[in-house]
């Protein structure tokens, strides 16, 4: 069995990885940490920050910096998770793609490779509401979906 874990940088996705590794130990499964980077997110963050701070002339520069930071941050998160579980006897790999979050997740999750998808109940906005991602992808994912908190 292969287990796909959706990593978005939130604490909830780190918890999802914990559950996935535990499951992998019990089922002798392989864990794939999966993240999608969407350039629109960098654009939105740069636009909101620059317009609110009155520095619209620096918009493009901020967008580039935020995009680079997003790439580095998610790589760091995935590497940290892999380091933590090294030595626990679980095969763990990482995959980062760029594109539309919903489309890329559905493409990967429904590729036929995975027996379980694991994600956090909440996103990076905290516990205020259930992950918007769950509403977007929950019904379209074919394998069972474990939502952890």
């Amino acid at each position: 069995m292969k287990i796909l874990v959706l990593i978005d940088g939130s604490k909830w996705s780190q918890k999802a990885a914990l559950h996935a590794v535990e499951m992998a130990k019990r089922k002798d499964a392989e864990v794939v940490l999966f993240s999608v980077l969407d350039i629109m997110e960098a654009k939105a963050m740069a636009f909101n920050f620059c317009t609110q701070s009155g520095i619209c002339d620096q918009l493009k520069g901020y967008e580039g910096r935020i995009w680079k930071d997003m790439q580095k941050s998610i790589e760091d998160d995935q590497n940290s998770i892999i380091s933590r579980h090294r030595g626990e006897g679980v095969r763990c790999s990482s995959k980062i793609v760029e594109g539309s979050i919903r489309e890329e997740i559905l493409k990967e999750a429904n590729s036929g490779e995975y027996g379980l998808i694991v994600m956090g109940a909440f996103g990076r906005s905290g516990k205020a509401r259930i992950s918007a991602l769950l509403e977007q992808i929950g019904g379209a994912i074919k394998p069972p979906l474990l939502v952890v908190r």
């Binding site: 069995m1 939130s10 604490k11 780190q14 918890k15 914990l18 559950h19 535990e22 499951m23 019990r26 089922k27 760091d76 940290s80 933590r84 027996g115 379980l116 109940a121 990076r124 905290g126 516990k127 509401r129 259930i130 769950l134 509403e135 929950g138 019904g139 379209a140 394998p143 069972p144 979906l145 474990l146 939502v147 952890v148 908190r149």
Partner: protein, 180 residues
């Protein structure tokens, strides 16, 4: 220093400094603390059933088999439907409807319990008239995990979304939820 603390300190090394404890306190919704880095034991799994849940898929059973847990099957008839029928129909017809629903529920519980037991799960079953959301959230407090069919409490819709009741349950329970 634990894994989480080291990760947080690395990310906040430039701005946190001595303020690390206060940041961890104020932003605990965004930072995984070391004490949260454990997986509770899964000993009991709640599986709500209704008219719209025909089965537990083999894929879901494969996942659930990872835990040495008792599966509690609960067939729930919506109390609002019964109330509505009582208002619209005579008492005899309502009783007949309820009896048919109970007969269906018993058959479904028996069939699914047999399938689970065949695969080595220990099971418990119960059936009642209640609220498909609130009662499940209440029952979830005495279980370690919940497994929900995407179609639970949804009706016959053919779209691919998850039932709104399933989403609300996922939001309100404090335990992991398996959606199948």
């Amino acid at each position: 220093m634990g894994y989480s603390s080291s990760l947080i300190q690395r990310k906040f090394k430039d701005i946190a400094g001595r303020r690390y404890d206060s940041i961890l306190k104020d932003y605990r919704e965004f930072m995984l603390a070391d004490e949260e880095m454990f997986i509770p034991e899964i000993r009991s799994i709640l599986v709500p059933l209704d008219l719209f849940v025909q089965d537990i898929t083999d894929e879901a059973l494969d996942v659930l088999s990872a835990y040495d847990a008792t599966i509690s099957l609960a067939y729930i008839t919506d109390t609002e439907v019964i109330k509505l029928l009582e208002q619209a129909l005579d008492s005899e017809s309502t009783k007949e409807f309820q009896a048919k629903k109970e007969e269906y529920g018993q058959k479904l519980l028996k069939r699914i319990a047999a399938k689970l037991e065949e695969r080595g799960f220990s099971t418990q079953t119960r059936m009642f008239v209640g609220h498909k959301g609130d009662d499940v959230v209440r029952m979830a407090k005495s279980h370690d995990m919940i497994a929900l069919c995407r179609r639970y409490a949804d009706g016959e819709s053919t779209d691919v979304s998850v039932s709104p009741v399933v989403l609300r349950i996922c939001q309100r329970v404090e335990i992991p939820a398996l959606i199948y």
